[in-house]
């Protein structure tokens, strides 16, 4: 039973290696497409393209190490890196200025105290980089002045005045006040913190269910990041979809805005890796958001609708019910047919009926499910029974072949001969004495049949267009929905493992000898 866990980890590892270590067309496209450049001047002209490519890599967690992140980046190291690049100058410096502006307010506690140790030229460039930030914070342009030196003076003064605001407690309180009162004044208060409050804002967005508060919070977040903002006409359903996008953004970009300290840092060395991000994302359904969802990236209405339709877990439950019903009906049906058929064949073994039956069963056994399904579909059309029959037929053929063999083996044993010698009729010896033992392996086979039937269900659902797991998975392949695929693969593995374990348990319950073996193994 415990093997299910390492098996699952193993499978997730394999799937992860498949998806991430092979070349990804989207990444290459992001690196090579020459997007229309909005910024026209010199070295910066290339920057939007580079930033877009970088964003594409980050959406797939390609910027992170695969399994262990010895030195996870946080807002401090990222800010420090941009400052160093700005000080070094050149085209990298230009890019770093854009990056610094994107980090925004969260960079200030690291960047501003460090200004004094930098060269004049570098300080001017930092001041220039912070201009868009000032605009977001609604700083009076008059206070900022015209020359970089004026701006520098402003930022020094700003830091002296506001150093107390840039503390975790202060930003948390500010967000709480906003959620409670929701006045413009509170919104302005938060705007002056810029991205420094983003962590608390995101927490609030996840926790809040009030439409108006959510709307206001998201507007603030949209202003300081480049996520698509909601508008007044947004319905609660659309807002829910938008919230999922925001959550995913935060899932990817959290360390851009939050310092990692102490225990957080230790945890981050495991979680801030490609594998961890990817696995967690797959299981929480966040990987569905693989397409970029920022303003520049498009989020088509179709995609938004699909997201609004219901999250992964919801869809999974709905589809799995259909498929599991199909599987268990077939399992039941095939046993119901196969056991009597196998007994009949064994009782008549060697005669013409048995030989004929063997040939027919061998033929059915060799027919692939999709052929059976297509033929049934053509003959019967869209009745409810046909899919179950199509699925059961192959399984029934397999099972009755085994039933016949198992019963024949038991019939040669001494105890059956003894029963016959003591005067039991042929029928009684067969049904009462032999079958009791011969039916055990067949019931154990049910465990193996379940995953096999699941494979068959994929085909049957597609042929009859039944909206189960298989049908949905084929649609997921068409739209390359990695999240769904990963979950289905893992679910199948769980089903396969548990079916095997379950068959063992059933056998142990029915067969005293197997029970004995289990006990001995347990002691060993």
């Amino acid at each position: 039973m415990l093997w299910a866990i390492p098996t699952l980890v193993g499978i997730s590892l394999v799937v992860f290696l498949l998806t991430s270590l092979l070349p990804d067309p989207a990444l290459e496209a992001g690196a090579s497409t020459d997007g229309t450049t909005e910024t026209a001047t010199g070295a910066i002209a290339d920057a939007p393209r580079l930033l877009r490519a970088e964003e594409a890599r980050r959406l797939r967690f390609a910027d992170l190490p695969n399994f262990i992140n010895e030195n996870p980046d946080d807002v401090r190291t990222r800010t420090q890196a941009t400052l160093d690049a700005i000080a070094a100058g050149g085209p990298d410096g230009d890019l770093a200025e854009l990056r610094l502006a994107r980090i925004g307010g969260a960079a200030l506690p690291t960047a501003l105290p460090r200004l004094s140790s930098m060269t004049t030229e570098a300080r001017r460039r930092v001041a220039r980089a912070l201009t868009p930030l000032a605009a977001r914070m609604a700083v009076d342009p008059f206070a900022l002045g015209v020359s970089p030196d004026d701006a520098l003076k402003f930022w020094e003064r700003f830091w002296q005045d506001h150093v107390m605001d840039f503390t975790p407690g202060a930003s948390k309180r500010a967000v709480e006040r906003l959620v409670r009162h929701g006045t413009e004044l509170r919104a302005e208060e938060l705007a002056s913190l810029d991205t420094y409050a983003l962590a608390d804002l995101m927490d609030a967005i996840e926790a809040t269910d009030r439409h108006d508060a959510l709307l206001q919070l998201m507007k603030i977040v949209a202003k300081i990041t480049n996520l698509a903002p909601p508008d007044e006409a947004t319905t609660p359903q659309e807002l829910e979809a938008l919230r999922a996008q925001y959550t995913f953004f935060w899932y990817v970009h959290r360390t851009d805005y939050v310092p990692l300290e102490g225990l957080d840092r230790v945890v981050a060395s495991v979680t801030e890796t490609r594998y961890a991000k990817w696995t967690l994302g797959a299981f929480t359904g966040s990987l569905e958001m693989l397409e970029p969802t920022t303003k520049s990236g498009n989020s088509s209405p179709k995609v938004a609708r699909r997201r609004a339709e219901g999250d992964l877990r919801h869809r999974l439950a709905r589809r799995a019910t259909v498929t599991l019903a199909l599987i268990f009906l077939s399992l039941f049906g095939s046993h119901l047919v196969a056991i009597p058929l196998g007994v009949f064949a064994a009782a008549r073994s060697g005669r013409r009926v048995d030989r004929l039956l063997s040939v027919v069963l061998f033929f059915i056994y060799s027919l692939p499910t999709f052929v059976i399904a297509a033929v049934f579909r053509g003959v019967s059309g869209g009745t409810v029974v046909a899919p179950v029959l199509a699925l059961s037929l192959g399984a029934a053929a397999t099972l009755s072949r085994y039933q016949r063999t198992a019963l024949l083996e038991v019939l040669t044993t001494d105890y059956v001969r003894t029963a016959r010698a003591k005067g039991a009729s042929n029928l009684r010896a067969l049904l009462v004495h032999a079958l009791r033992n011969a039916v055990l392996p067949i019931i154990a086979l049910a465990g193996v049949q379940v995953p096999q039937l699941l494979g068959g269900a994929f085909v049957v659902e597609e042929v009859w267009q039944i909206r189960g797991l298989g049908w949905e998975t084929l649609r997921a392949i068409e739209r390359r929905d990695v999240g769904w695929l990963v979950v289905v693969v893992c679910l199948t593995a769980v089903l396969a493992t548990f079916a095997l374990v379950g068959a063992d348990l059933v056998q142990a319950a029915l067969d005293p000898r197997a029970r004995e073996t289990f006990r001995r193994r347990g002691e060993a």
Binding site: W3, P6, T7, G10, I11, V15, L18, T19, L22, P23, D24, P25, F362, F363, Y365, S366, L367, P368, T369, F370, V371, A374, V375, R377, G378, G394, A395, T398, Y402, P441, A444, L445, V448, P451, Q452, L454, G455, G456, F458, V459, E462, V463, T473, L474, A476, I477, R480, V482, L485, V488, V489, T492, A493, A496, T497, A499, L500, Q507
Partner: protein, 368 residues
């Protein structure tokens, strides 16, 4: 070979296995059917092609024009085909599997013995050329998976320990995992679907059977005295594996490989039928059969490739079962001391978590 001829070769050897096989009518049928299919596939261009086998065109003679000459000589209509050559030796069907004509969805007729599909391609040509694709693909996959499976099984069985544990778990999980789901998932998860990805995916589905059988055999053999003797003589593990252990497991690998062949073909056909199979223009049986999903009345799209597929799978299963019985010394006419051997086998298998139940269950190709 007459049935009365005595069996040749020592028990369990290939010569003996072959002579046992030759006695079984069904095995003979299976082998013959596979031979015919291989022959059809290899020489597909002699049965259905757009260009004549030998043709004289404007005084110039072409041999095997459809293989040697690119599309320059292809003409559209049947009329042109007759008139544009001074002399031509045509294959029985004058259509290749790729060229689309305006004869769409025609039921079987004189010109197209198996009818045409929705894009006006000849179904007979696709079936014959498909045999090449399907069998070629299956043989490549099986070669790959037999090598992979044998290696994994031999190493796990011989060295035991953690490696064995991991391999055994992997085999157990993958055996129970539905093959179609696995192939579809792999094809969907790789960035670009390619033939190589399909080959790898198909190989990954069925190597477990080879590994399981080889591993059990290796475990059985490893405890025997002559291995101990070889080790005492200072033979390296690699040499022991290659010279003393592996020859015992060869029969198992061959049986599992034969079953894997039909299973691979079925999985590939199923994926093709679902529309996610071979990502190339090459014709396969599954792709033709998938045409039925759009045009439900066109039975000929399904019946002919389906029949060929069925015959292929049946004959491979027949051959596989016959081979299994013939190559297994425990199954064929068991003598007294062979029984002991059998018990040792069982004990070894019991020790190594692959229980008797499993070996009873998976002795045939899993259904797809």
């Amino acid at each position: 070979m007459s049935p009365a001829k005595p069996l040749t070769g020592p028990r369990g050897s290939f010569r003996r296995a072959l002579s046992i096989l030759a006695r079984r009518r069904l095995a003979r049928f299976g082998a013959a059917a596979i031979a015919v299919l291989l022959w059809l596939g290899t020489f597909a261009d002699f049965f259905a092609a757009d260009l004549p086998i030998i043709g004289v065109h404007h005084g110039e003679t072409f041999f095997f024009a459809n293989v040697t000459e690119p599309a320059t000589l292809v003409v559209e209509t049947e009329e042109e085909k007759r008139t544009s050559y001074e002399f031509a030796l045509w294959p029985p069907v004058h259509h290749g599997p790729y060229v689309e004509t305006d004869q769409r969805l025609k039921p079987p007729n004189r010109e197209h013995p198996f009818g045409t599909d929705a894009r006006g391609r000849d179904v007979f040509a696709q079936v014959v050329h498909g045999a090449r694709t399907v069998l070629g693909l299956a043989f490549v996959c099986v070669a790959l998976l037999v090598v992979l499976g044998t290696l994994a099984g031999a190493l796990a069985g011989y060295f035991g320990g953690l490696l064995d544990l991991i391999v055994a778990r992997l085999v157990e999980t993958l055996t129970a995992f539905p093959a179609v789901v696995l192939v579809l998932a792999i094809l969907a998860l790789v960035a670009r679907p390619s033939v190589a990805a399909l080959v790898i995916a198909l190989s990954l589905t069925r190597w477990t059977e080879v590994t399981r059988l080889v591993r059990a055999e290796v475990i059985r053999v490893s405890t025997q005295d002559y291995i101990l003797a070889a080790r005492a003589l200072g033979a390296s593990p690699l040499r022991i594996l290659a010279r003393h252990v592996f020859p015992n497991a060869r029969a198992q690998a061959i049986v599992a490989g034969t079953f894997a062949l039909s299973s691979t073909i079925l999985v590939e056909a199923s994926c093709d039928f679902l529309g996610f199979g071979l990502p190339s223009s090459a014709p396969t049986w599954g792709k033709v059969m998938a045409g039925l999903r759009d045009d439900g009345h066109a039975w000929w799209l399904f019946a002919f490739p389906g029949a060929v597929l069925f015959v292929t799978v049946i004959s491979q299963n027949l051959l596989g079962e016959a081979l299994r019985d013939a190559l297994d010394p425990h199954r064929s006419v068991a003598a007294g001391h062979e029984r002991d051997d059998d018990n040792a086998h069982r004990a070894a298998a019991e020790n190594s978590s692959s229980s008797e139940r499993e070996s009873a269950i998976f002795q045939a190709a899993p259904r797809v």
